[in-house]
Amino acid sequence: MKRRSFLQGAAGLVVAFSIPRFAEAGPSTVETDSVDAYLAIAPDGSVTVYAGKVDLGTGARAAIRQIVAEELGVRPEKIAMVEGDTALTPNQGGTGGSTGIMVGGIQIRQAAATARQGLINLAAARLKQPADALVTADGAVVPRAGGSGIGFGALVKSGRLDLAVDKNAKLKNPDDYTIVGKSLARPDLPEKLTGRHDYVQDIRVDGMLHARVIRPPAIGAKLQNVDAASIAQIPGARIVRVRDFLAVVARREWDAVRAMRVLRATWSEAATLPGSETLFDTVRSTQVARTETLRNTGDAASVFAGAGRVLKASYRWPIQSHASMGPSCAVADIRDGGGTVWTAAQGTHRLRQVITQLLGLDMAKLRLIYKDGSGSYGGNGNDDVAFEAALISRELGRPARLQWMREDEHGWDPKGPPQLLDLRAALDPAGEVLAWETVAMVPQNNPAPTGAPLLAAVAGGFVDGSGMSSGLTSLNADPPYLFANARTDIKWLATTPLRPSALRAPGKIGNVFAVESFIDEICAETHADPLEFRLRRLKDPRAIEVLTRVGQMMAWKPRTTSPSRGGAMLRGRGISYMRYKQAENYVAMGMEVEVERNSGHVRVTRVVCAHDCGLMINPDAVRAQIEGSIIQTISRTLLEEVKFDSRRVTTTDWASYPILTFPEVPKLEIALIDRPHERPVGVGEASTAPVAAALGNAVFDATGMRLREVPFTPQRVKAAFAASA
């Protein structure tokens, strides 16, 4: 037992709300294969769950409690939870790729099932009853037949069970669930909504200085000279410089902001970027590092070689920002080869390794404590700011709080990379798809040992800046339908203009936009009904059900063109379908839009969605994730595009990088399909993927114009009207 030697001092103390100082925690890596790594039981029978994955505003904080409560037999309100603290929690991997419940929750469920069996065995000896005559309920082991039992706390005086997680420990039958499947309230909302909740931005440490970073005027510019006298009039303001990494600190936060603004520094010229105006020319001419055949059914190449009627189209997805509402922030106290970093990073355990390596620390002496931040949807600025805060603290030898400014977040967060997809379909005279081909171009994943190059790691000379990673961007580039001949090739590009990272449902949104829009193009070309076309080419009953439900909710009737195409306000409808990563959620979506002919303004008026994620732990949390996924992706589809010149990103605030606002948010109708006997898959990403295609298909229905490049800005729509006139 490595983590909780300190737990024993106070007889099974539950540490959720009084996390001890790091020095008392001892060696600080928690194993992942023992029940004690995930669960601790206090003398009063209350339970603490230690989760390596975290709640990013998703409701996992409620759902994980429900899983443990259900499996262990304890009331959810008796469960405390510690998330993402590297000294206290097992490394379950980062909170990304919708794995919070699907992987993290399932591991914890197995630990809880093992614990239940262990508690029953302990009680069987004490009560002199066979184990199979006992059950757990409300924090106690009790005879199935009734009568008095023994509380968990009395059974486990040390707080520890000393059991390996049993992969075969019997799970409760979902038919008997009383807690999982209910929409329990999120425990964090009352404090979040009254100002009492501590976000990472709210952490204050004794002796702490406030820091701000000064970015170069161009990516890759070298720092030539810093004029310390330029901030001399600001009380206590100091410069922290490590090669080309430049920051200022001050005791008062506003003084750090002022120092950041008035500091005079000279930088070398740099102009390394191709500019966003020619982004897709750049993408198409980028060297291909390797080509991967994602899927190959039949012999598409031969069919295309002999085909008479071939439909072709190219689809473009722009560079986008995570655009978190709160700029990233971290507090660090790094001294004597170790210390503490308070961070909202999605993967604290991995980030701990990265910071250890980069700063040459002793990993056993470095602790990362997760604190909620502003919502993150992948790798935003959180990893960067944590390393920068650690670097500044190490240089100062005292605690530092680094708060990024809006311009740091919009300008310098690692971006969702651009995607370019070329699609072809060979059609026979009857309109059947003889062959399909996708060629998708996305940046390669070749992360350096320290992950994606952090800004300060490059500027400070710790790494050379090579390596990049943006997640599972190739998935869903292949169509989900039964085509006899279909080939999907991924051209993994050697470089991409701006430092990339995984942005919510990485790649899948752009891929499904292309695939499901092109399906719609085929339907239009062959006079097929988009709903019927899809249904006829799906076999999986779960796929068929979500699409059928959407058809019903839309009161779908086949038609060849929208009745409103002639007027000033055009109205249309569109659908799309996908199975996430071709292996997880089934999601179908329908949209209704209005397009204003004069202004080019596209407004989504109604969205319907049918969603099947298997077992739902907390249906309202599932619903909230779907709502957020749809709204955020409508925003990305209609409005969002990172622009840059030859030197740096130029869309650095909410005016230049707008997102969807209240007046534009549509009505949402969501059908949750509950399948308690199917494994639960994640819900943070899947319903983003069909959004852009449904929207584009609805615009086509309304206008007859196919939009193949996101975002669908008024200027772009107006240009399309002009071109089609």
Binding site: L189, M325, G326, R406, G628
Partner: protein, 153 residues
């Protein structure tokens, strides 16, 4: 040092400003440890930093602390987990937040709206919140929460 007195959440609070231009947000968060208002953009674009001043929603990141003469109410001043305000209680009931970072501004703007229009229609709510940004996409719940607060008012 510039000493000022602010009327915050029912109390007079005396603060040494340092720079006389210091925005209200930094005084609230750093000097008075009121973390309800959040730093979002520093340009008055997003609304995360909003507080009430004499019943009006004000963006504390762009207003100078020294210029504020009225009664300031922050998210903490509206209510507590034990005794949330009507609007806060409605937001909790509707689970009208994901990360909750922007929600301060939503609650402040909604409280101000209900102060001047106790029975807003949905369109009034959308208009009143048009300048409050949310990235997680909790909008439909926020609208439902404001309608609920109005109904229960």
């Amino acid at each position: 040092m510039t000493q000022i007195t602010l009327h915050v959440n029912g109390r007079d609070r005396s603060v040494d400003l340092g720079d006389p231009e210091t925005p209200l947000l930094y005084v609230l968060r750093d000097d008075l440890a009121l973390h309800g208002p959040k730093f979002g953009c520093g340009h008055g674009q997003c609304g995360s930093c909003a507080v009430m001043v004499d019943g009006q929603a004000v963006r504390s990141c762009t207003v100078k602390a020294a210029s504020v003469k009225g009664k300031i109410t922050t998210l903490e001043g509206l209510g507590s987990p034990e005794q949330p305000s009507k609007v806060q209680a409605a937001f909790i009931a509707e689970a009208a937040a994901q990360c909750g970072y922007c929600t301060n501004g939503m609650i402040v703007a909604a409280t101000a709206l209900l102060g001047r229009n106790p029975r807003p229609k949905e369109v009034d709510i959308r208009t009143a919140l048009a300048g409050n940004l949310c990235r997680c996409g909790s909008h439909v719940r926020v609208i439902a929460a404001v309608l609920r607060a109005a109904k229960e008012g």
